[in-house]
Symmetry: C5
Subunit: 97 residues, 5 copies
């Protein structure tokens, strides 16, 4: 999975029927070495009730469809967890409030 920060929201009324009811969030990846937000993120379906500003884990590809909320839906990126702590090299790069 990729660790990233939820930075925004997407609303789309005209869409593939199987996407109806899903919440889509813009997630920017976090650099593992520095903890800083990077470019190159995704628009992910939310399986855990995440909100803007939170640090999350998201899965991509067919794994993104292995949740109750996304199974058999045309989703290729899903937020799977809300991160409490992220440590690298003994240093805490992120700690949830």
């Amino acid at each position: 999975m990729i660790i990233g920060k939820v930075i925004g929201t997407v609303v789309a009324s005209q869409k593939e029927r199987e996407l109806i009811g899903l919440k889509f969030l813009a997630v920017a990846p976090i650099d593992l070495l520095t903890g800083e937000v990077q470019g190159g993120g995704v628009i992910a379906a939310d399986a855990v009730g995440a909100g803007v500003g939170e640090v999350v884990l998201y899965a991509t590809g067919s794994s993104a469809r292995q949740t109750q909320i996304t199974q058999n839906r045309p989703v290729d990126a899903t937020i799977m967890a809300i991160v409490d702590t992220f440590e690298v090299g003994g240093e805490v790069l992120y700690l949830k409030d």
Copy 2:
């Protein structure tokens, strides 16, 4: 999924039989932090009636085949939604006319 802008069209008369009837559009990804069009896009099948100039969400990989129009077809990128609004950090980066 990736948020992108439909920037062009592709016509191909000689093709794998299972692709017949699909519309293919060139989609360039949009940078999540700036809202600007970037390089590195795809040629996506259209599942929602999108047109050139619109901002869309597209899925890649096996998820691109999870729609009624693309199932069991050799498609690895499909436009799934037409975006109404895209907000990052409380700022509206895109608003459909």
Copy 3:
């Protein structure tokens, strides 16, 4: 899918049995904004009788196995169509002879 130009050929006599009979072509991706050939291409199986110099669409991943010629074969990139025209922003970037 990715739009690219067929730039070369690969011959391999010692190979996984399920690859026997497939033609493999080197395909370089084409930049969607400029129409120029880029680095970072693939060696794709040919499902449509493409030749060197032609502009094609190729699919990657599991979608590459969704054709009659490639099903159940260990192929992760397949040429699916020969492009006639490719237009971006109202400008014709490629027109087949």
Copy 4:
């Protein structure tokens, strides 16, 4: 698979139910030519009891779900092996203590 170094840990209490019980580690890829740690890693589930500081192999995509511990779980990156030796060009780039 990708060879990488385990550089950190992630803890997430609020998560998709099928992730409960898995250990997640931050893994940074190792450059094949130099043996140095690079940017662009992943958060991988651990299938082999790896620890911070070890050099490992991890698989991504649907292959990440082909282990006893990860099958049918929404995981897209799994540590599959702990590396003993890594040699390039006759030179030992890594040797486990």
Copy 5:
């Protein structure tokens, strides 16, 4: 598939059970335009008896599991062929001894 050069070996005694018996080789991709070895390679399972120094084709993703030796195993990159000749633009970039 990707064309690459086998540049090294990996040994791992502690690993997911389904990987036992597979040989793992480090493969660096070859630039299609120049024929030169690049960064960014993978550790691939060997399905064809390849050795260090040889130029090969490898498949990634679920296609890597579509061989007799790798089926149902957690492998995401497999060497599928040993290249005899690689030609680009009428020029031979590689010819096996």
